[in-house]
C-alpha cells in the first residue's frame, strides 16, 4: 500500500498535479509513512525525473512550473511534521537564492530553488530585485554556505560581481560558495567575476551545488 502511494505521489509531481500531490502526501502521513520517506522516495525522484525530461527536451518551462507547484503543495503538508532535529541533520547545505538588484525575473531562480530543495538543500529564496547588501544580510541570518545569484539582463549581470565584492567586504567570502546563472551569464563571466560556479539550468545547478559542497576548503 505504501509503495502504491509513493509511486502515485512521484507521478503527481511528474505530471504537475498539485491537488493530487497534496492529497497523496496526506494519505501517506495518515498511513504512518515517515515524511522523510515520502520526500526521499517520491518527491525527490519525481522532481529529478522532471529535470531529466527537461534536459532531454521532452519538458519545457511550463512543465517545470507546474511540477514545482505540485512539489510545494506536498511539502506544505509534510514540513510541519518533519521532526526538527532529524530534518536539520539531513540538510546538505544552506542556500540563499535571489535575483540581483534591478532585475525582476523570478522564474529561473524559483526553479533552481525547487530543484535544490528537492535534493536536500535548505533554501532561503529572498526574491527578485535584491541588493548586494540584502544578499549579505540573508547569508548572515541563515548561516548559508551557498549563494545563488540570478541575472537575466545584460544591464544587471554586473550586480553578480557586486554581491561577491560585498561578501568579501563582510568577511563572508570564505564561508560561502557563489553560484551564478541567467541567460546572459556564462562560465567565462563566472570566472571573470570570481564566482565559484555557473549553471546553465536548474538541473545543472543541483549538480554544481553538490560538487561545491564536497569541494575541499
Amino acid at each position: 500500500m505504501s509503495e502504491e502511494i509513493l509511486r502515485k505521489l512521484k507521478q503527481a509531481i511528474i505530471d504537475g498535479e498539485a491537488e493530487d500531490a497534496r492529497e497523496l502526501a496526506r494519505q501517506g502521513l495518515d498511513q504512518g509513512l515517515d515524511p522523510l520517506v515520502l520526500i526521499d522516495e517520491a518527491l525527490t525522484p519525481g522532481i529529478n525525473r522532471v529535470g531529466e525530461l527537461f534536459t532531454n527536451g521532452d519538458y519545457f518551462i511550463p512543465n517545470l512550473v507546474i511540477a514545482g507547484d505540485a512539489m510545494k503543495e506536498a511539502f506544505r503538508v509534510l514540513e510541519p511534521v518533519l521532526a526538527g532535529d532529524r530534518a536539520q541533520n539531513t540538510i546538505l547545505g544552506r542556500v540563499v537564492l535571489g535575483t540581483v538588484e534591478g532585475d525582476v525575473h523570478e522564474i529561473g531562480k524559483t526553479l533552481v530553488g525547487t530543484m535544490l530543495t528537492a535534493n536536500g538543500f535548505w533554501v532561503t529564496d529572498i526574491g527578485a530585485d535584491k541588493t548586494a547588501a540584502e544578499f549579505v544580510a540573508a547569508v548572515q541570518e541563515n548561516q548559508a554556505t551557498l549563494v545563488g545569484a540570478s541575472a537575466l539582463m545584460t544591464t544587471t549581470m554586473l550586480e553578480q560581481r557586486s554581491i561577491i565584492e560585498a561578501l568579501q567586504e563582510a568577511g563572508l567570502r570564505d564561508q560561502v560558495k557563489v553560484l551564478v546563472g541567467g541567460s546572459p551569464v556564462s562560465q567565462s563571466w563566472a570566472d571573470e567575476i570570481g564566482a565559484d560556479g555557473y549553471a546553465e539550468d536548474a538541473m545543472s545547478a543541483v549538480d554544481l551545488a553538490l560538487r561545491l559542497i564536497d569541494a575541499p576548503e
Binding site: 525582476v104 523570478e106 545584460t154 541567460s183 556564462s186
Partner: protein, 342 residues
C-alpha cells in the same frame, strides 16, 4: 541603392552589392551613448527624435527602431506601474492582471491616451520625415505571446499554457490587439516602412514547439499579415534556442527573421532559403560587449561566411545589445559587412 533599399532588397531575398548590417533594437545603447535615459525623454518627442537621428547619422545604421527599450510602456498605458532603471530598459512592478477575466475591464484605447506612447509616436513621425527616405524607420513592440506573458506574469503564463490553455489564449489574443493598436497610426499614416517584433517568451528555452505552434504562431501570423496589408515589412526576432522551430518561424510570414546567437546560422540559412530573409547572429555579450574590435571582426566574418552568400541575409547581433557596448565594436561590426565579399 541607398541603405533602405539594400535592406529591403535582402528582405526580398535579393543580393544587394553590400551585405546590410544592422543592430536589433538598440534603444538602450542609443540612449546610453547619447548621455540620456528612458525616463527623461517622456513628453519630449523632439528630444527623443534628436537623440535617435544623431546616433543614426554618427554610426551610419540602416535601420532605426523607434520605441526600442520602451516596449513595456504598452502595458503601463493600461494601468501597470513602470519602473525606470537608468541605462536598463524600464520594466513593470507587477503584471497587469492576475486572472484572465480582468481583461474585460481593460480599454485598449488607453494606449493612445498615454503620454509615453504619444511621445514615441510623435518622435517616430519626426525621425521618419528626416530619415525615412534613406533608411528603414521602424517601430517596435513585443510579440503577442511575450506581451501576454508580461501582462499576465511570466510564471502565470507558463502555468496557464498547460493548466488553463483557454485563459492563455485569451491573454494572447488581447496582447495581439494591443500590439496592433500600437503600430496602427504609424502604419496608417505611412510613417514607418517596417514593424519590428521582439518575441523573447516564445523562446525554445521556455515553450515547446507544440505550444509555440498553438499559442504564439497564429497571433504572429495575424499581426504580420495585417502589417503586410498596410504596405509595410516585418522583422521578427525570437530569443533563445529556437532550433526545433526554425521551420515554423519561416512560416510566420515575416520578411526577415532574426535569430539568437545560440542557433547554428548555417542550419537556419538552409531552412530559410527561398522563404524568408535571415538575420544574425553575432554574440551581443561575449563578442560585442566583451570582445575587442578584432574579435568583433572575426565573429562577424564568421557569420557572413556561413550565411551571406546568395543574398537574403542581414548581419545582426544575436539579440539587442547592452547599453555599454563600445562604439568602436559597433563600428567594427558594420565595417566587416561593408568590406565582405563572397
Amino acid at each position: 541603392m541607398n541603405e533602405k533599399e539594400k535592406v529591403f532588397e535582402a528582405f526580398r531575398l535579393g543580393e544587394p552589392d553590400k551585405v546590410p548590417a544592422s543592430l536589433f533594437g538598440g534603444g538602450m545603447w542609443t540612449l546610453f551613448t547619447s548621455g540620456t535615459d528612458f525616463e527623461s525623454l517622456i513628453g519630449h518627442p523632439r528630444e527623443m527624435a534628436r537623440v535617435n537621428i544623431e546616433t543614426n547619422r554618427r554610426m551610419g545604421l540602416p535601420i532605426i527602431y523607434m520605441g526600442s527599450g520602451y516596449k513595456n510602456s504598452h502595458i503601463a498605458a493600461l494601468g501597470a506601474k513602470m519602473r525606470f532603471r537608468g541605462a536598463g530598459a524600464p520594466d513593470l512592478e507587477e503584471p497587469l492582471i492576475a486572472h484572465a477575466d480582468e481583461l474585460e475591464e481593460l480599454d485598449i484605447d488607453d494606449l493612445a491616451r498615454d503620454e509615453l506612447v504619444q511621445t514615441v509616436w510623435e518622435a517616430t513621425r519626426t525621425v521618419a520625415s528626416e530619415l525615412g527616405d534613406e533608411i528603414v524607420v521602424a517601430a517596435t513592440a513585443w510579440g503577442p505571446f511575450t506581451l501576454a506573458a508580461q501582462i499576465y506574469g511570466v510564471e502565470n503564463m507558463m502555468r496557464s499554457v498547460i493548466k488553463r490553455p483557454e485563459d492563455a489564449r485569451k491573454v494572447v489574443e488581447f496582447a495581439t490587439r494591443l500590439a496592433t493598436r500600437f503600430y496602427e497610426p504609424l502604419l496608417e499614416e505611412k510613417v514607418i516602412s517596417m514593424i519590428s517584433i521582439a518575441d523573447m517568451s516564445s523562446s525554445g528555452d521556455l515553450i515547446s514547439r507544440r505550444h509555440f505552434a498553438e499559442l504564439a504562431l497564429p497571433s504572429l501570423q495575424g499581426l504580420i499579415a495585417d502589417t503586410k496589408s498596410k504596405g509595410a515589412y516585418t522583422l521578427l526576432h525570437v530569443c533563445g534556442d529556437t532550433s526545433d522551430k526554425l521551420d515554423l518561424l519561416a512560416e510566420t510570414g515575416a520578411d526577415c527573421v532574426s535569430i539568437d546567437h545560440k542557433i547554428d546560422l548555417g542550419k537556419a540559412k538552409d531552412l530559410f532559403r527561398g522563404k524568408t530573409c535571415l538575420a544574425g547572429n553575432v554574440h551581443p555579450i561575449d563578442v560585442l560587449l566583451r570582445g575587442t574590435p578584432a574579435d568583433v571582426e572575426a565573429a562577424s566574418r564568421d557569420c557572413l561566411d556561413k550565411a551571406a552568400s546568395g543574398g537574403g541575409f542581414i548581419l545582426m547581433p544575436g539579440c539587442d545589445i547592452p547599453p555599454n557596448v563600445p562604439e568602436e565594436n559597433v563600428r567594427a561590426f558594420l565595417r566587416t559587412a561593408e568590406s565582405w565579399t563572397a
